[in-house]
């Protein structure tokens, strides 16, 4: 597409808004990644562990969780946002604004993360888990000290992947007045056909992702020295 960089918009108005959007996005993405990331890690470990043949194999729990994750994940986020509104209000106190966007984002992120975590734990060598078991480590200790460290490199890459997913979700925060960079790009750029505004916001998002992925790659590389 041809990008017309001369902007018709008034940057003196947009600039503070852009800064605010960056702050909102960072807030949404990082809070979501931390809360949803941790909960998703827990859920993912449980999904992995209850899988037939694994650490605490439990067919019923696995079936139920697997089903639940598959129920939540396919719901288009905008519909999920609307459907969650009553819950959001009772948890956050309001259904509009940045904080209100974070809650459904966390829920969705938890479920998405759990799948990626499950997937990345699957290839961990059973021999090491067995070694820890033989030393008398409890299941929780094994998860904490063997399973997760052994899968850490791909897990870090999975979280980098999720970062983009969450950023994408945060673009929908605008629907409920949550602001953010994605909304900035869409509302002040895309919907107004102002390429300069659109791409300014997009470039900031790209830079964010480059930084996060760069850090993730560096960590993964260190971890992969093994």
């Amino acid at each position: 597409m041809m990008v017309t960089l001369a902007s018709r918009s008034d940057w003196s108005v947009l600039r503070p808004l852009l800064f605010q959007s960056v702050a909102q996005t960072l807030q949404m993405v990082f809070i979501t990644l931390i809360i949803g990331g941790v909960l998703g890690l827990v859920l993912g470990v449980v999904l992995y562990g209850t899988r037939p043949g694994n650490l605490f194999e439990n067919r019923v729990v696995y079936r139920v969780l697997d089903f639940l994750v598959n129920v939540i994940r396919p719901i288009p986020f905008i519909i999920f946002l609307a459907a969650m509104q009553p819950v959001t209000v009772s948890v956050i106190g309001t259904s509009i604004g940045t904080a209100a966007a974070i809650f459904p984002m966390c829920v969705m992120c938890t479920f998405a993360t759990s799948r990626l975590v499950e997937q990345n734990l699957v290839p961990v060598d059973h021999g090491m888990i067995e070694a820890a078991r033989a030393m008398g480590a409890s299941t929780f200790t094994i998860i904490r000290t063997v399973l997760i460290p052994e899968a850490l490199a791909p897990l870090i890459l999975a979280y980098a992947f999720l970062f983009v997913g969450v950023l994408d979700m945060s673009a929908m925060a605008g629907y409920i007045g949550g602001g953010g960079l994605g909304n900035f790009a869409i509302a002040y750029g895309y919907q107004k056909f102002d390429q300069a505004v659109t791409w300014t916001a997009v470039v900031i998002m790209i830079v964010l992702v480059q930084v996060v992925q760069g850090v993730a790659n560096a960590i993964a590389k260190r971890l992969l020295r093994r």
């Binding site: 018709r8 905008i78 509104q85 209000v89 605008g174 629907y175 409920i176 007045g177 909304n183 107004k192």
Partner: protein, 284 residues
């Protein structure tokens, strides 16, 4: 390209029209009527407003009907494009609605009941956002730092001297918010969503005037590429839309709030568009 040989409007080469809400009764009726008159149309449904004009411009659509003149003017100026209005359909007033309680009853009956410092939700798309701020200003709920324009944004509001705060959000989300969110006192809802949300349009606390000179920028139109301004088939489509059976369905869907805009000629509409475009350019 394979259907190029067949004449436009025939069964193998229907007129492709981009709209928002293809299942609305007026489009169902329109398709029926057109077919009865030997014009085959294909209604393409879009989810929001951004793709219809570029699609028309590139030839993916033959016509579109979803926007008012202001929106089109803004698009033309922004994209150095030259899409033209072929005929009018309707003007919809924009209303302010109160939050509802558990029984679905409005909490506030009049402007004066809206508490100072409360939050009002408005649509977040550019033209409707500006128009909604205009409504709030006219209602005395907000004060602007300068004059109102068709592109006023929330940052133009003088918050210190305004009675309420505004929160822009996706237009269709506002009705939901009015019933479920205790922190929102009222919202400006685009008429498209009022009826769907089960709100009685007559309960609006305030709305703008759809029948005045000031409302001309908000005339919804059929748009075509400039080269097609004299295309007979397309003109016939507009005429079919402007017949009673179709307009009745449209009015039914808007629960009587729409003001028909079939009285404007193509030339008139083109003139309005040109005026608005000039204004927009001069503002830059």
């Amino acid at each position: 390209t394979k259907t190029d040989e067949a004449p436009k409007g025939s069964e193998n080469n229907p007129v492709v029209i981009g709209v928002v809400g293809a299942t609305n009764p007026e489009w169902v009726e329109f398709t029926k009527q057109a077919k009865a008159q030997g014009v085959y149309v294909q209604i393409k449904d879009f989810q929001d407003y951004t793709s219809e004009n570029p699609a028309l411009s590139t030839g993916s659509l033959d016509m579109n009907e979803f926007q008012h003149l202001l929106y089109l003017a803004n698009y033309n100026v922004s994209n150095r494009d030259n899409l033209q209005p072929l005929g009018g359909t309707a003007i919809y007033p924009l209303g302010l609605y109160s939050a509802r309680n558990d029984q679905g009853k409005p909490i506030y009956e009049s402007l004066s009941q809206i508490p100072a410092g409360s939050t009002v939700a408005i649509p977040n798309d550019e033209t409707n956002q500006a128009r909604a701020i205009g409504v709030l200003r006219a209602a005395g709920l907000v004060t602007l730092k300068g004059d109102w324009t068709a592109f006023t944004i929330p940052q133009d509001i003088d918050t210190a001297n305004s009675k309420v705060k505004v929160v822009p959000m996706k237009a269709e989300q506002i009705a939901n918010t009015l019933t479920s969110d205790p922190t929102v006192a009222a919202g400006v809802i685009n008429n498209d969503y009022v009826a769907d949300a089960g709100i009685d349009p007559t309960t609006a606390i305030y709305h703008d005037d759809a029948d005045s000179e000031e409302s001309h920028p908000y005339i919804n139109i059929f748009a075509v590429r400039a080269a097609d301004i004299d295309n007979e088939t397309y003109r016939k489509c507009v005429e079919i839309f402007q017949t009673k059976p179709v307009l009745d369905k449209l009015q039914e869907n808007s629960q009587g709030t729409a003001v028909f805009a079939d009285k404007f000629s193509t030339k008139q509409l083109q003139q309005y568009l040109q005026d608005i475009e000039r204004q927009i350019r001069s503002e830059e």
